[in-house]
Symmetry: C2
Subunit: 468 residues, 2 copies
């Protein structure tokens, strides 16, 4: 068994499990713990270090999440064959340390993850107060099963908010709440029908594609032009359902102009055609005038609108929703109310109170200002430091941009060179149905979870990494 021995620092501002995970990570990076070696069992290591099993677990989970170790069912946790690009601090900190007396400091990784949001400004105390109100309310009432569509009062708030901020016209009866877009897409696909062909933006949101394909649905990739999905291409296919992200195309970031929206709605006028409009981060727009949602422009009840509180509120409470046009609402009511609501009724009630008391609007305003500043920092750092050697794509809204890098490196090289300087950037190829890795000289930069300083440092490091 590998021996892991270190003295953890109680006064260190980092939690114990992070200190432990960092120590093990360092041992792996320095080669003192070898690939394919088995880590001690949680119980053994807990006894050995005098720590709780939970601390060990959390450390192991962290290592696993970062890809340093992987679990083999019923066998245990094993060190992965570490990508050597990850060994970023080898020179600095792999001196022969005595881990009993010295704690390893690791350079922070600047992570341009597009799924991260900033929770620094989240009004925790208000949320706690409202959570308690939900728990005290009519003791126990909210503990019994609720409406399969979700709580009426929350749906009323969502409906009012959608009208005011996104131009979506719907009654609360048309809204179905669910625990995330994947759950709701699964349901929606059953309501619309699995026998149809679903057209998807290419590149597009990979979770949608995989969810639909896993359900056994035929999908067809549709190319994009500068205005979004290519209608000429769409018309050539036998698809009668199309999934689009018009407010901020994922991942390319263009905003679909009104003319293209009207063309798409025109396409959908045919019998049995539907548009699924995913407005995953439409709250955040930095340039240009607001364009009404497809749902708001639709006169023929052809658009299903999808929204989420993950980007704009709290990712981990898992509250999303779909707005059904009347023909699909009828089908839902006839058959699908047998599917129980998937979101906790208590969270629904707390969110209702949060919106009802005006906190949601003021939080959104604060976040818009914050993200606008981060966005400006990012785009001006790119302009000043990387200049003509890169092209920024899709910068008018949302929490990420796409960067085309003109240095002849392919996607893999761009990512691994960045990692060698401690910067994590993300591939674009996974969003293509056919995974066009080599052709793409582009990567994805999310900025929601980084501070302005981190964004600055990140871009400076990328300049060096990519030799620009």
């Amino acid at each position: 068994m590998i021996e892991i021995t270190l003295i953890l620092d109680n006064k260190n501002s980092k939690p114990m499990y992070i200190q432990l995970a960092n120590h093990i990570k360092q041992e792996i990076l320095c080669g003192r713990i070898k690939p394919n070696e088995k880590l001690p069992s949680k119980r053994n290591l807990a006894n050995h270090l005098g720590l709780s099993i939970n601390t060990i677990q959390s450390a192991y989970e962290q290592l696993s999440a970062e890809g340093y170790v992987e679990s083999k069912p019923r066998k245990g946790l094993f060190v992965t064959t570490v990508n050597h690009d990850l060994k970023i601090n080898q020179n600095q900190s792999c001196e022969k340390v005595d881990s009993k007396t010295k704690l390893i400091q690791e350079k922070p990784m600047i992570d341009f993850n597009s799924g991260k949001v900033d929770l620094q400004l989240f009004p925790y105390s208000i949320w706690r107060k409202l959570t308690l109100q939900s728990l005290y309310e009519d003791e126990g009432k909210l503990f019994y099963m609720g409406n399969p569509q979700g709580e009426v009062n929350l749906r009323e708030q969502i409906s009012a908010h959608l009208y005011a901020s996104r131009g979506v016209r719907c009654s609360p009866e048309q809204i179905v709440i669910g625990a995330g877009i994947q759950v709701l897409l699964g349901l929606l696909c059953l309501i619309i029908g699995k026998e149809h062909t679903y057209a998807l933006e290419n590149p597009g949101f990979h979770r949608t594609r995989i969810t639909l394909q896993d359900l056994g649905v035929q999908t067809v990739p549709i190319s994009l032009d500068e205005d979004g999905i290519n209608i000429t291409h769409l018309k050539k296919t036998d698809a009668n359902v199309v999934y689009v992200t018009p407010s901020h195309q994922f991942p390319n970031g263009m905003i679909m102009p009104i003319s293209r929206r009207m063309e798409l709605l025109k396409w959908a006028e045919e019998k049995n055609r539907y548009i699924i409009e995913d407005d995953y981060d439409g709250e955040y727009r930095y340039k240009g005038k607001p364009i009404p949602s497809l749902q708001g422009l639709d006169k023929n009840e052809k658009v299903v609108y999808l929204g989420t509180f993950s980007k704009s509120l709290i990712p981990s409470i898992r509250i999303s929703y779909i707005v059904l046009p009347s023909s699909l609402l009828n089908r839902y009511e006839e058959h699908f109310t047998i599917y129980k609501q998937t979101v906790s009724r208590l969270h629904q009630d707390t969110l209702f109170r949060f919106i009802n008391d005006g906190h949601w609007d003021s939080h959104l305003n604060k976040m818009r200002t914050l993200y606008r500043k981060k966005h400006e920092t990012l785009t001006s750092a790119i302009k000043n430091l990387l200049g003509e050697k890169v092209k920024v794509i899709g910068q008018k809204s949302g929490l990420h941009i796409v960067l085309e890098v003109k240095n002849n490196m392919n996607e893999n090289e761009l990512i691994s060179k960045a990692a060698s300087k401690g910067v994590k950037v993300y591939p674009l190829s996974i969003y293509y149905q056919d995974g066009l890795q080599s052709k793409v000289h582009r990567i994805l930069l999310g900025f929601g979870g980084l501070t302005e300083t981190e964004i600055h440092i990140g871009i400076r490091l990328l300049k060096v990494a990519w030799e620009l």
Copy 2:
């Protein structure tokens, strides 16, 4: 527009919306509001009565849940064609009342709903305290997206609990948490494969059948004998996956004996065969010795165990889980971690604390005692009052029984006669794949949500209703 006018009583112990719903219900039952009439819009009625829109909503939702009204999309709320059997209080309370000065008192309905649980003994204050701890913990950490399988510390607690109380042997790595059995069954069906034929108990749990069929999976109904699923019948089909409820067959209630369990495990030894063991209320057993779960008896990694906190803790927080054998776990890890966790991370953390601090065990013990008393009250009331004219089926465990009534009434008659005396009992035919309504002289009685007094009154009323 219908005119609805009444004076609500602030000092009445019933909430306003209940008073309003009761009033409208009475007006419908007395025929003063006619079938197919449209109710006023929420806004209009709120203005008219000087109440909040929320109160009107809640009242309308209540009426809708009870089947008195139904919403037609974009048209409004309409009075349904009320079953005349429901007009239970017509004689007593349909005198020409002046609703402006008198509030209608309605007789309580005794509802033998099998989905109800008793939350009287739920330790609300502890749950509140732990919820606050989760919200304060490492500010914000729990607000970011967590592990797709669910929190490690909660999975550790579940794994320990399952071993101690249900004989399930698993590591936390094998557990996937999800927002309800329907979500998890959908995922499981993708992991196992939709190309297989799934055998289902007949009668059996209708939500499982519908979930699988909606996914496009071939299902085959398998008859039951007194020990549970009929293995001879199962062997004659081409099914290679079987879904069973061995701890307490739903709805018939038999506990599968060890010999049948071994036979079923033997059947599953063939390549690509799996057993899905749904232990939905296995915590509650009143007679006989505990029998280990199929998962615990399985030597060949052929059993997927399904569990839920809905029956034993709080229905509305939506926490269930599956335990995957290693071959399926591999498939899950290869492809399905792209599906995000559907349960709120905060609730997962609170539940972890609740179990970790021992509250779960003590709550379960209290609930076992409580349900045992209710169960005794029910079975002895049936024995004393209904005697030889009925047969009780499946009374050794769980929160419901099946009653066979020997008075030549069919299911519909049994239900409507009971309703005419203010007692709600439930059909068994919906649990048959082929809906054998007329042949069945049986109904379902759930007792979890009723007090002992209500159970007594309910059985007395059934004696009269069914002329026993």
